[in-house]
């Protein structure tokens, strides 16, 4: 029986310990840590954990936190159905200008 874990990312069940282990394996950027551990890739798309993960990374790397930028948060911010997407009228993109 193991004790309770410190969960960093709930959606993908990533523990703080796992995040640190990934850092020790050589993943030292937030972007690569996100891809390797799954932090911030779940249902909430990082609302629950990316700020905390970034703060932890700044501490691990001993760098000023202001050097860290967020990973890309792609729209939409919450899951949508294909039906909803299909209900959107997307304007035709303008033809690329010849340069």
């Amino acid at each position: 029986m193991s004790g309770p874990k410190i969960i960093l990312c709930r959606c993908e069940d990533v523990t703080l310990e796992e995040f640190r282990a990934a850092y020790r394996e050589g993943f030292t950027e937030l972007e690569s840590l996100k891809r390797y551990t799954g932090v911030g890739t779940g249902f909430c798309q990082g609302k629950g954990c990316l700020s905390e993960a970034a703060a932890e990374l700044a501490a691990l790397r001993q760098i000023p936190p202001s050097e860290l930028r967020p990973t890309t948060i792609r729209p939409p911010s919450e899951p949508m159905t294909f039906g909803q997407l299909a209900s959107l009228e997307i304007p035709e993109p303008a033809a690329p200008e010849e340069s």
């Binding site: 874990k5 930028r69 939409p76």
Partner: protein
Amino acid sequence: MSPHRSALHREFRATSAWRPPGKDVTLDQAQVKIRFEGRTLTCRSGITVAVALWENGIRALSRSPKYGHPRGVACARGHCTGCLMRVDGRPNVRTCELKVREGMDIRRQDTGAFYGPLLQKTVDAGHRFFPVGFYYKWFTRPPFVSRTFLRGIRPLTGVGRIPTVDDSATPMAEDLGRVETVVIGAGPSGLEAAAASSGQVLLIDENEASGGQRGPALDMVAAAGDLDGFPLLAAAHQRLVLARQKLDSRPDIRFAGGTRVIAGYQPDGLLLREGEQLLTVACGKLIWAAGALDTLGLFPGNDTPGLLGPRALYRLVLRDGLRLEGLQVLIVGRGLDFWLSAALCAAGGARPTLVLTSSREHDEVAAAVQRNWPLHTGLVVGRVRRAGPARLDVALRPRSVDGATSASHLDMETDLLVVCNSGKPAYDIPHQLGRALALDPDRGGFLPTGSGSGSLCEVLPGGLTLDFRGEAAGDHPGEARNLQPEAPTP
């Protein structure tokens, strides 16, 4: 006038229609019956599925994907995975936002025909044998091993079953055209910003009423006459009252309550959702005053059902009608949300026990002592464990101040644990609209850097006390000023 302009005149609720909630949330007291995992449960109508299950003693609504930890309502805002269930044949329904209906069929999902509790328990206990990234390392070659492994592991990951209902009745999205200023968030900052913006203004909030996440809680505590002795609460309520007055002087401002921004598209597009209805709008300027997200902190057991942040507590009690009567509530933290949670619990008939993590806030401490609320200091949450379906076992450990510890350990059982850290700003939409952000852990997370950086999006960081200089903004018609967040209280 463009043809879709008229769509802007759809019937958005007038801000003045806001009503202060009474001490008891006025809900239909009729009973409805719902089905949960084959059992029939009786609950009040008008409450959410998550609250209905909570009041029936069921807090573990789902299981976490890898370790199978029980999870429950955590954000009460449709963000987290804790409350996702299968409702009437539809998977991944956010039960914290869905109202109960007679005969509704509610089931836990992903508890596994294949990935059963036994396997999850094995992974949980033997997590060292399933290290991070193991899926990138093991069984990767030769190729046929990799293929077989992937084919085998996919069904084990608990991705659920597809819906057995038809979703084709989605209403067509509606375009609201172009609005000069869109303000996201109708908390005090958003109200002040909207009132200070000239021209056409659309104010959006995911809550039905204005006042932000704390608004209804402040109103309830004020209505109960419990602001006395709490300067933090009185000041917050006063600011809200003034901000509402400012907005009432601008009847031209449209307020879209119960509406959520779900995407930003460069350069100026927003995608909104009001219930099932999607809306699009183009904004001349966006003022981002969306509130903060709860931060629960990093300690063992920080995913246990029954552990909430203050904003989730406000929503559950005042929006969803969760009854607090007779509950034992342990509240840990400091600042406005700490005292507001305590006052809300007391006003709702619960027994609050306070663990203050600040060495200031003397006035509030005196008021708490006067009200006979048990109060501890010098402690922080060390570990949380379930002590039953609806009970928590909380271990508090000494908080070290400059290396010195000031109190002994304390173990406590409670019905509900509310952790009131300072929140963290939501930043997704400003980010999508091209606003540059950098990490500022003292203020909870990612915040905009510099001024503007070419984006139309102006940001009022959530989770901070904001000093919005409404008068100053008036000097520059049509232009809200960049706002200076106050330094967080140390």
